[in-house]
Amino acid sequence: MNRRDALRKLAGGGAVALATGFVSTTALTAPAEAEPVRASKEAVGMLYDATRCVGCQSCVAACAEANNLKPDTRLTGLHQASLDLNHLTKNIIKLYKPTGASTWSYVKQQCMHCVDPACVAGCSFHALTKDPQTGIVAWDASKCSGCRYCQIVCPYSVPRFEWEGFNPKIVKCEMCRHRLAEGKEPACTSVCPTHAVIFGKREELLAEAKKRIAENPGKYFEDRVYGDKEGGGTQVLYLSAVPFENIALPELGGESVAQSSLKWQRKIYQYLAVPAVLYVSMVGVMRHNWKHHQEHLREEEEKTGLRPQL
């Protein structure tokens, strides 16, 4: 049997299944109708109004204390002064004030607790999970392999890794879930002297934010609440007088990246159906060609007198 015959047989048999399996395993770009993830009714969150923040950093200190984090004094050797979120800092206040600019703003950074988080979508063993009720994105040390994929995919660069030591952890805001369990609110919102950051149900906070916009037309950037729709929505909401991109809140579009990028991956690996089809068709082709290869080997053996090699 020559190759052309083999190919013809192949085309008639498993090849169709094979081709469909292969094409769909890789990528089909046609958009699929899929239900976007929505925040639950009980979802909790925070609303940070940058125009009310005075930059006192009470929340930074309270966060470190409530989460048993050592004060990050590496900058001055004296004061707790982190330059960025890091393995000692789950919450930070930064100042946006370019030289010569007339506008400036503080910004508070911590986990945004996305409605459809990329980190949870990518996490191999469910070490990062989203609570179905509260929507809090929490980390489980017993399941994390330390692969740091969450750091690669988070659009806000939130998860941080403990780079030193043999038992490193992923460090990020978990909305003080240990305090919530005791009936308290998160440490940062509990100490804020100007109520720049407040805690509550996401729905109520969203209504409050929209009320503030309605009462102060023109005060807030684009009369928009960041986190309402951005990146599929977040449970930490922002109001700001300066453009969001200036305070490190990227413009992400209305669809979560997990939703937009993985819908085909998700369909293909659902019930492992496509891989199974792929495997079965491969076996079909192989069983066919294996027989012919056996014959070929036998011929070789007769010719050379040496036992065939596989």
Binding site: F125, R148, W163, E164, P168, Q265, M286, R287, Q309
Partner: protein, 417 residues
């Protein structure tokens, strides 16, 4: 020196303990010691990785690139078994050995790279898998592939050697070969389904990073481009290695097989190249390729290297120029490696001001486990019938006084009846 490749023959006339082997062994030893340091000191002191660039060369080179180069067992195998290109069977053993070593060394580095490797045992509990995660797919599929089908495919040469050395084991080996022969189509099915899945999922990994990957690389077709790149990198690596070995150990080259492989490589690259440009045009991103910045430079570096390799491969095949052919495969491997390397490094826009360069320790560990793979290859091809040769080479070996009684197991022929 040319001749038809008819049979896998050990490189019997070369010493096994060479200076090169000791150097490679020393490099591996250094890497093992440094890996111990990394275990106790943590990733920070041992590497240049940071919160912005949290994936370093251990993942982006040793896993992304090396498994791409080690895709020969899968890519050449599909050519030989599925598309029934009979000639390619002669290079399968070499392809499978390269694949096994590349995956094996890549997986070792993966366990050194992850911060909490003891939790990898969750892999054994499917009910705890996040089946929607491309990373889960990669980790599970790669491990299963390397430990099961790829390992099984590499067993026959070992049994063959044992068959010759230990007559007392022969009945046992015959039975083992019989079992392998019966299960072979089912194993091979996995050996092709699994790499298709995890090599494409390696591309899907970066889909979830969204706009953090530069628009010249970020495309919904990333999974397809990744598995495609793995295919031509696999061919290039096998053909390049065979050419190199034939020069180093003065063994015959089968120009028919090598030409066939060169044309397949060139065809895969050319179609990949056009598809990539077409995708950029379709997504209306071609302009980004002509912007003057480091991204477009790196993009064109990949594209020019790969276009160059196509030219080299086609011209060398026409003129039967071995040296040019080797350079063609080398360019294909480097260009493909660069493409697989970039989305997680040069094209990964973590945040302004962020910087990553691998530390000396990181580079030494990375190189050390590449050295282990090369050392393993050099030792294995001398001990086992792996590299293809003309029948005369086998007769030469017999004459050399190291006759092997011929091979393995009637078993698998018998099992068919």
């Amino acid at each position: 020196m040319t001749g038809n490749w008819q049979r896998a023959v050990p490189v019997y006339n070369q010493p096994i303990r060479t200076r090169a082997l000791y150097v490679l062994g020393a490099l591996t030893g250094v890497a093992v010691l440094l890996a111990l340091y990394r275990v106790f000191a943590g990733l920070g002191p041992a590497s240049g990785m940071n919160d912005a660039y949290s994936w370093g060369i251990w993942k982006t080179f040793n896993v992304m690139v090396l498994t791409g180069l080690g895709s020969g067992g899968f890519a050449v195998g599909i050519g030989a078994w599925v598309f029934y290109r009979q000639r390619l069977h002669s290079v399968m053993r070499a392809a499978l050995l390269i694949s096994f070593l590349a995956y094996f060394c890549g997986l070792i580095l993966l366990t050194i790279d992850v911060g909490r490797p003891w939790n990898l045992y969750w892999m054994l509990f499917p009910w705890n898998w996040n089946t929607h995660s491309p990373l889960l797919e990669v980790m599970v599929c790669m491990s299963v592939y390397a430990m099961f089908p790829l390992a099984v495919e590499n067993v026959p040469p070992i049994l063959e050697r044992l068959y010759d050395d230990r007559p007392s084991l022969r009945p046992l080996i015959e039975r083992a070969m019989g079992i392998i022969a019966k299960g072979y189509p089912y194993v091979i099915g996995l050996a092709y389904a699994l790499p298709m899945m995890h090599q494409s999922s390696l591309g899907a990994l970066m889909l979830l990073a969204g706009e953090r990957v530069h628009t010249l690389w970020q495309t919904p077709w990333l999974p397809l481009l990744y598995v495609w790149a793995a295919a031509f990198m696999g061919y290039a690596c096998v053909a390049g290695t065979l050419l190199f070995c034939s020069l180093m150990w003065k063994r015959a080259r089968d120009m028919q097989v090598l030409t066939e492989m060169s044309y397949i490589t060139a065809g895969l690259i050319a179609s990949w190249w056009l598809f990539r440009v077409g995708d950029l045009m379709y997504r209306n991103r071609l302009r980004a390729a002509f912007a003057v910045n480091p991204y477009s430079f790196v993009f064109w570096l990949e594209m020019v290297l790969l276009a160059g390799s196509v030219v080299f491969l086609v011209v060398s095949s026409r003129k039967q120029n071995t040296q040019l052919m080797f350079h063609g495969h080398l360019l294909a491997a480097i260009g493909g490696a660069l493409y697989r390397f970039n989305p997680t490094t040069f094209a990964f826009q973590a945040k302004p001001g962020a910087f990553y360069f691998p530390s000396a320790i990181e580079i030494l560990i990375s190189l050390g486990f590449v050295a282990l793979g090369i050392a393993g290859f050099m030792a294995a091809v001398k001990l086992l019938p792996i590299l293809p040769a003309p029948l005369s080479e086998w007769r030469g070996m017999e004459a050399h006084g190291k006759a092997r009684s011929g091979l393995v197991a009637q078993g698998y022929a018998a099992a068919q009846d």
